[in-house]
């Protein structure tokens, strides 16, 4: 290396580092009061922009496209009804591509470039955790429509799916009522099942239920002979199943192959909705239990209209499911909050949120301003031979959301 070149190189590096340092000196330190300002919402035109952030490609697309469809349906209905504060809603759809950094990147784009009033979407906890700092740092709003593992409460997120005390705890209550004294826990290896099972263990300790086994399969795994063997050997009263997606197909066929049935050892699942029943095959699932807040068969005028409208828009063979319903509801709730606030600004919307109600397909839901979750009715269903899920039990009234399970003594050590 010629000396000249070396000098040049050192100089270049020095300049670069100096520039970096100079710029750094201007930035805010952690802990300082900094630019955590509310996001700029573009209210200039005749329309108001909202973001739809779902995976339209990749492994999660199967599920998330149905949510996007439900969101679009709600937006179209509201627009046909005159819009929000006199403005038509203009949806801007972005593809999260089943990739968490992409979710973060796209949410930033929606907030900063498009200056949307709110974003609707995300499915997996991982994608929500990835976008959460973006929404908090930019002071924008996300409406998250999927049941999840709780233990979260961001001021910049409204959670319209169930938290644990609206889905898992009622399911456990139901099992106790049915006389279950021992449980086997089977789940996919990701955050929701692992956290749900921690909660189940705490609940079990309090209620004298013995947890005889706990197993996780990698997401997408289809090899369940060993787990089925272990379940069969353990001889629990029931199985609590938090497996995701296609793993259920293999699990239930192995479960049946070991000779277990819904009579001998029922399985209660929290991720199997109408669509999954179809693909797993009703014959393998007959008599098994599920826990949700909404089924396509849920009674009520609002649901009849929702199912009819959805099937008219997207095809008569399309089932409706809990996350789709929660997504549909989330748009209506946001619109109601905006109307109440008389403003699209995030802070105004948040301030107006408490007590907003909506006649949703699942029944009346109410926003809890403190937790930014909604009051929901828990429903246990039994899968029939025809593949339909019929309700066998429901909570008497919508359950108040309690993401940190603060009202449950047994959950004290959890968070």
């Amino acid at each position: 290396m010629l000396p000249i070149a070396r000098v040049r190189r050192l100089a270049a590096i020095a300049v670069a580092s100096a520039t970096a340092l100079a710029l750094t000196a201007c930035g805010a330190k952690t802990g300082e009061e900094s630019a955590n300002a509310a996001a700029t919402v573009d209210t200039s035109g005749d329309t108001i922009k909202v973001g739809l952030l779902n995976s339209l490609s990749g492994t999660m697309a199967i599920s998330e496209v149905t949510v996007r469809d439900a969101l679009m349906l709600a937006i179209e209905e509201i627009n046909a009804d005159g819009g929000v504060l006199g403005k038509q809603i203009e949806p801007i759809s972005e593809d999260g591509a089943s990739d968490w950094p992409t979710f973060a990147e796209k949410s930033e784009k929606l907030i900063q470039q498009d200056q949307v009033a709110a974003v609707f979407g995300c499915w997996t906890s991982a994608s929500r955790k990835a976008v959460l700092p973006v929404f908090e740092q930019n002071g924008s709003l996300l409406f998250y429509p999927v049941q999840y593992e709780g233990l979260e409460q961001s001021p910049n997120i409204f959670y319209t799916g169930a938290t644990t005390n609206q889905q898992i705890v009622p399911a456990l209550d139901y099992l106790v009522e049915e006389g279950v004294e021992s449980l086997y826990l089977v789940g996919s290896d990701y955050v929701f099942p692992r956290t749900a099972n921690r909660i189940i263990r705490a609940y079990a300790e309090e209620h004298g239920i013995e947890i005889v086994g706990e197993d996780y399969a990698p997401l997408g795994s289809t090899e369940f002979s060993t787990i089925a063997n272990k379940v069969e050997q353990a001889g629990a009263d029931a199985v609590f199943n938090t497996l995701n997606g296609d793993s259920n197909v293999s699990f239930f066929s192995e479960y049946a192959a070991t000779g277990l049935t819904a009579e001998t050892m029922p399985v209660l699942s929290v991720s199997i909705a109408e669509e999954e029943v179809k693909s797993i095959g009703a014959e393998n699932l007959e008599g098994q239990l599920t826990s949700w807040n909404y089924y396509q068969t849920t009674e009520g005028e609002a649901n009849e209209e929702f199912v009819a409208a959805f099937q008219e828009r997207y095809g008569a063979d399309r089932p409706t499911s809990d996350p789709m319903e929660a997504a549909y509801t989330s748009v209506y709730l946001w619109a109601a909050m905006v109307e109440e606030a008389g403003s699209f600004e995030v802070e105004d919307v948040r301030a107006a949120a408490d007590g907003i109600t909506f006649e949703a397909p699942e029944g009346t839901v109410t926003v809890d301003g403190e937790t930014q979750h909604i009051h929901k009715t828990a429903r246990i269903g039994r899968i029939g031979a025809d593949g339909l899920i019929t309700e066998v039990w429901s909570s008497e009234e919508p359950i108040r959301p309690d993401p940190y399970l603060r009202d449950y003594d047994w959950a004290e050590g959890l968070s």
Partner: protein
């Protein structure tokens, strides 16, 4: 006691699946040295064949039986096409073959998505495969599912057929001649290009058979190939290049190890243990269980 028995059977049935998905590779990778990452997509093609056949034929049993030869042909034809279009130009560059065929696998996955949709689909198992044999009855029964026995039988049949083809037929002799000494084979009048193509046809066709078998244990989807291709290659790596018996032993050994580890720990710990065990094994025997010695350099 029944636990040990039932877990051994689980291990053997995992091994049978591994053997089926690796068997085609033992020809294309083991004998020809071609690292075909699209092998997994040939398996997928076999699986979708079952799905398509079932759409046109009502009986799940008949369609499964029809699918076996059909999937072999479909996947085999895809293999021949791939060999003819790309691989034959790359015999001297094995690592580039790996990358090129990986690109092909991306394309085939997208093609499957465009044709069949992104969601996974399922094929109905015929009724005669959904039952099980109960060997030990009592509090803890030992049951063998028909579908698993079917896969085991298919794997054994495929190994036997392949061995006989390689050992007893003139085609097999030509294949071995080309593998062992390409120039000499060519000089003695064997059309090596054609033999390559036929070898690839059989290897890929076996992937199609594996695809048919996999429909009995899991869903059919565009990405099913990627999930298993590494396992398949590991079987060959452990078994040793160019040796059918190496692949057989490796498949069942890995299957049983996986089953035992899964039972005593968790699925993910089992996976990691198996992978680490393979690395450790290669420290001991870098060329796999069986080695073909050559005197040539490099």
């Amino acid at each position: 006691m029944t636990v040990i028995l039932s877990q051994s059977f689980t291990g053997i049935s995992i091994g049978a699946v591994l053997l089926l998905i690796a068997l085609g590779l033992s020809l294309t990778f083991g004998q020809m040295g071609v690292i075909n990452m699209a092998h997994g997509e040939f398996i997928m093609a076999g699986a979708y064949t079952v799905y398509v056949v079932q759409k046109s034929i009502d009986s799940a049993g008949t369609s499964l039986l029809i699918s076996l030869p059909l999937a072999f042909l479909v996947a085999g034809a895809m293999g021949v096409l791939l060999e003819w279009l790309l691989i034959r130009r790359l015999y001297a560059r094995p690592l580039d073959t790996l990358l090129v065929t990986w690109g092909v696998s991306l394309m085939l996955q997208q093609l499957a998505r465009d044709i069949f949709g992104a969601p996974n689909v399922n094929a109905q198992a015929p009724s005669w495969l959904s039952g099980r044999i109960t060997l030990v009855d009592g509090e803890h029964s030992l049951t063998l599912a028909h579908s698993r026995l079917f896969i085991l039988g298919l794997a054994i049949a495929a190994v036997v057929a392949l061995t006989l083809t390689l050992r007893r037929t003139s085609l097999g002799r030509r294949i071995r001649a080309v593998v062992q000494h390409r120039d000499l084979a060519e000089a003695s009048g064997i059309a090596t290009g054609r033999v390559d193509r036929i070898t690839f046809f059989i290897g890929s066709g076996l992937a199609g058979l594996a695809g048919v078998a996999l429909t009995l244990v899991g869903p059919i989807g565009p990405t099913m190939g990627t999930n298993i291709i590494i396992d398949a290659f590991l079987v060959i790596v452990v078994g040793g290049i160019g040796q059918l018996r190496g692949a057989v032993i490796a498949a069942f050994a890995l299957g049983v190890l996986q089953a035992v580890m899964e039972y005593s720990t968790t699925v993910s710990v089992a996976r990691v243990t198996v992978l680490v065990a393979i690395v450790a094994f290669l420290q001991w025997r870098p060329q796999g269980i069986y080695t073909l010695r050559t005197r040539s350099l490099a």
